[in-house]
């Protein structure tokens, strides 16, 4: 009862707990937090780890820490790799959006999880959210949240294909009647794109670049489909042969070459999903098309690539980065109406 009382002061939250970024949507307010899922903590022998920074602050420390401080991403491939650290991070974020509250907040929380996450992983997330003070925790499957956020008619008896390309994973799911008909998770996402660019540059230019620079390259000139008029970007890296920084130029088609492997995996996964879809739903999808969400959907011409490869129209959701969080938010706003798609123990 006291929890409900505290709940009056708390904002109900939908959390997109992603490998790369954690987004929090608050009821009637929209996205109020968008920070990297990174935690930095100090290691002391014989003592518990002490968290010293979370989110954007911690991300700046990635790769720049002395030996007694570790900055890590507690989620790997869309699932919790470090349970305690994830809990601390959730607590920090929930506390942060309730900074000025008089009482310790006790919100209702919806957390999105990958479709293929195991019951153990789901329980771990439930427990993490509860430990961070939530009063009622529900889980929503990521593709479902993404579809809701994109505004797709998930409650209708119409097949919908959602491709959510996140930081760590790509979720491909066929939805109909508020349920998941087929789902597949590929461990390819924005992070893998960056790695591929780093490897490509090392291989072809004999130069090392950091992941942050790789991300810039991907964002600025990355494409998923051959360009007739490729754009160029000047990049500075550490030349392996000479051991000194060198400047070189990359163009869009180079990046396409770098991204070929991860892109093929995504295309293959979409093809598999189409193959595994019952014919009725398949017809719906062929008619209306598939929807891309998640940060990966911002990769230029990814829709063209998928359309070419599958022969199905492809549309990119509006504001794809926040689709999952907004979808969770929609489920919050109509908590009772969406009971059937929310998961709890």
């Amino acid at each position: 009862m006291f929890n409900q009382f505290r709940g009056v002061f708390a904002r109900d939250l939908a959390i997109d707990l992603g490998t790369a970024n954690t987004l929090i949507y608050a009821q009637r307010q929209g996205i109020i937090l968008n920070e990297p899922s990174v935690v930095a903590y100090r290691i002391k022998r014989g003592q518990n780890h002490r968290v010293i920074a979370v989110g954007a602050d911690a991300k700046r420390m990635l790769g720049r820490t002395p030996t007694n401080i570790t900055a890590i991403r507690p989620l790997k491939d869309g699932v919790i790799a470090e349970f305690d650290v994830t809990r601390e991070m959730l607590q920090h974020f929930i506390g942060k959006v309730h900074e000025r509250s008089f009482l310790r907040p006790s919100p209702r929380v919806i957390v999105s999880v990958p479709c293929r996450s195991t019951a153990v992983e789901r329980k771990a997330i439930l427990q993490s959210a509860r430990d961070s003070g939530a009063r009622d925790v529900r889980l929503i499957e990521e593709p479902m949240a993404a579809a809701l956020g994109a505004g797709l008619p998930v409650h209708e008896a119409v097949g919908t294909l959602v491709v959510d390309i996140g930081g760590g994973t790509t979720e491909v799911a066929v939805l109909s009647l508020s349920g998941v008909v087929h789902a597949d998770t590929v461990r390819v996402g924005g992070d893998r794109f960056d790695e591929s660019v780093v490897n490509f540059v090392r291989r072809t230019h004999g130069t090392m670049i950091g992941e942050a620079i790789a991300e810039t390259i991907k964002r600025d000139i990355g494409v998923a489909y051959e360009q007739k008029d490729p754009r160029e970007l000047k990049v500075r890296g550490h030349n392996l042969q000479l051991g000194v920084p060198r400047m070189f130029t990359l163009n869009s088609n180079d990046v396409l070459e770098a991204l070929r492997d991860p892109l093929t995996m995504i295309v293959q996964s979409v093809k598999n999903a189409l193959e595994a879809t019952p014919p009725e739903l398949s017809a719906d999808i062929a008619e209306t098309g598939m929807v891309l969400t998640g940060g990966g959907a911002l990769l230029k011409d990814l829709d063209v690539l998928l359309a070419e490869e599958t022969g199905v129209p492809v549309i990119v959701a509006e504001d794809p980065l926040t689709c999952v969080a907004r979808g969770g938010g929609k489920a919050l706003d109509a908590f009772d109406a969406y009971q059937d798609i929310l998961w709890s123990e």
């Binding site: 904002r11 900074e99 994109a150 008619p153 129209p313 980065l321 907004r326 929609k330």
Partner: protein, 320 residues
Amino acid sequence: MKDEDPIAPPHETPDADAAPPIEAGGDFSPAVALRAPQDASASAPPQSAAGGCGAKLRAARERMGMLPADIAATLHLEEPVVRAIEQGREDKLPAAVYVRGYIRAYAGLVGLDADELVADFAPVADDPVPAPNPLLGAVDRKNLADLPHRRAGLLFSGIVLVIVIALAATLWAIANSFDWAFSADPVAEPEPAWRNELRPPAPAPNPAPAAQEEETLESSPPAAADSAPDAAAEPAEEQDPVLADLEFSFRENSWVEVRDGDGQSLHGAVGEAGQTLDISGTGPFTISIGYAAGVELRHKGEVVALGPHTQDGVARLELH
């Protein structure tokens, strides 16, 4: 202007030349195709009122010398869908979210600004997305503070009011149902036949009960006597209500224990220096004083000499 488009069909002749649609146009009759470019330029304004973005898309397509079939093939849509978009026929289109996607792709193909066109297309009716959210996408720290806190503030003051009222409605009502309120309940406690009173400085573990007791005692000692089983046995007390049966004045700390005629303990505690302890009850009293030298005892107003009863500093006596 026209020839810079890479996706246009193979015939990249200026549109003054009406040849390309005729050559490419399996679907169009030559006459229609011939007329199309002029139509578009002539009737664009009136159409935009009816079709909005559809008309703009069509005009752009025709300027580039493309057919709906070309658009449909590139976007992997069916041709009727492309026509429905151009004509603004929402009844032939799927859910709005898809149509917005098609329009974006179409606009990209013909080199128009997608955002503007999507804004034109606004069939909100079948759109499951609720009213546009101003914060979508934007991470706005400032908004954390504003609106909900005002709401929470109102709620908070309301709830504080309720709490104050609940407290004022006295602890006894709530105390019965919540064990955390007070462990001792002054109402539920059986009224004893005797009264103890510790005057200043009063050690009060439970302020409320102590205050109550003090009041009853000082204002109406007869009441206490009345409630005693054999109040009539002590008429002397009736005459001088001010005097208690026993009065201990502590000059120094000392243990004092008093039992009444029935052997029941009326008091057993350390009295601190400077305090005065009044005890009323039914005699005969059995009294033990741990440090007789530090205590002065009065019985019904008269000083009792403790000396004769004292052994090793401890006084043990019986008073009637």
